[in-house]
Symmetry: C2
Subunit: 182 residues, 2 copies
C-alpha cells in the first residue's frame, strides 16, 4: 500500500477514503467502471495505463470492496470487474470532482453531460436532479457527449462512449446480442 503508511495516523475520514481511492489512476478506473467498462483490456486501452499498474489497481479495488471480480465465461476463463454497492457510493465523489474540474479548471469545455433519465434534466453538481429534487442513482443517469469530447478517439472503448448511454451499462455490446440469459 503506497499511501497507507502516513495517511493511517491522520484523524480524518477523508484520509481514509484517499487511502482506498487516492492513488494515481484509481479514480479514473472507477470512473470508467461507471461508464460501463468492465474488462481488463477495455480499461487498458481507454486509460492508457501501464498493464502492471492496472492489475495492481484492480486488485486493490477488489480487496477494498469497491469492485467485484466475477467470472463471466469459463472456457477461456475471463473475469469482469463490476462496481459493488460500496463502489456505487463513490458516484457523488466523481460528480463533485467532475463539476469542479469543469467549472474551475481554466479552459475546460464540457466534455460530457449527465441527465436524469426519467425526465431528461441535466444533473446538478452533486448528482441530484434539480427538477425532481431527488438524488439520482447512477443507474438512472444518462450520459451525453459534450462539445469538448474528441469526436474520433483512437480506442474502441472511447468510440463506444461517444453515443448517449446509460451509466453502468456494459460497454462494447451495444450491437452485440445478449449472451444467454433471456
Amino acid at each position: 500500500m503506497a499511501l497507507g503508511k502516513d495517511y493511517a495516523h491522520q484523524q480524518c475520514s477523508i484520509a481514509r477514503a484517499l487511502e482506498v481511492v487516492g492513488e494515481r489512476w484509481t479514480l479514473l478506473v472507477v470512473r470508467d467502471a461507471f461508464y460501463g467498462v468492465r474488462r481488463y483490456n477495455d480499461f487498458l486501452v481507454h486509460l492508457g495505463v501501464p498493464r502492471a499498474v492496472l492489475a495492481a489497481r484492480l486488485q486493490a479495488l477488489v480487496e477494498a470492496g469497491v469492485l467485484d471480480k466475477r467470472r463471466y465465461q469459463e472456457s477461456p476463463p475471463r473475469d469482469e470487474y463490476v462496481l459493488t454497492e460500496r463502489g456505487l457510493a463513490l458516484w457523488p465523489v466523481l460528480r463533485s470532482l467532475g463539476a469542479w474540474g469543469r467549472a474551475e479548471v481554466p479552459g475546460a469545455v464540457p466534455v460530457r453531460h449527465f441527465h436524469h433519465a426519467d425526465c431528461g434534466t441535466e444533473l446538478g453538481p452533486y448528482g441530484e436532479c434539480p427538477l425532481c429534487r431527488v438524488p439520482v442513482p447512477p443507474a438512472d443517469v444518462e450520459m451525453r457527449p459534450g462539445a469538448g469530447l474528441d469526436p474520433d478517439p483512437a480506442d474502441p472503448v472511447g468510440r463506444a462512449l461517444l453515443a448517449p448511454r446509460r451509466l453502468l451499462v456494459p460497454v462494447g455490446r451495444e450491437d452485440a446480442p445478449e449472451r444467454g440469459n433471456s
Copy 2:
C-alpha cells in the same frame, strides 16, 4: 507536473480535476486549509508531510489558483496560504470523500461532525443542511469533534482542532497571546 503527462489526453473533467488535486497529500492540504490552517509550519506538523513535498504542493496549488499566498507580516517576511474562491469550490469534493470514507471504509468511527452554524443541524453527505434545505457554504459550517478523534494529539495544530470551531477561521491564535506587540 506529475500527473499531467498521461491524464492530459483523457477526455474528462474528472481527469482535469485530478491533475490539480489528485497528487498525494494535495487534498489533505486543502482539507487543512478548510480547517483554518494557513501557515507552512502548521501544515507541516499537522500533516507530517516531508517539507519538500509540502513546498511543492503549496506552490502547485497557488499556481492552480486554489490557494492564495499572501504576506501577513513584513519584518520577518511571512506568508500565509488562504483558499481562493476556486479552492472553496472544492468543499463538496471533500464532503463527499469524507462521507464515503466514514460510511464505506470498514472500521471507521466518526471523527468529526459538521453542523450548520445557523441551526445546529448536522450536514448531509453533500454539505447541505437537511433542515434548512440549502447548501451550506463552508464559512457557515461548524466542526465538532467526534468519538474517533484522538483526544491528545502530539502537534499543537491537532490540539487546536479539538475544540468546536468554524471552518476557515485561522487556527493557532485562540489561546495564544499575540507574540510581541502590545
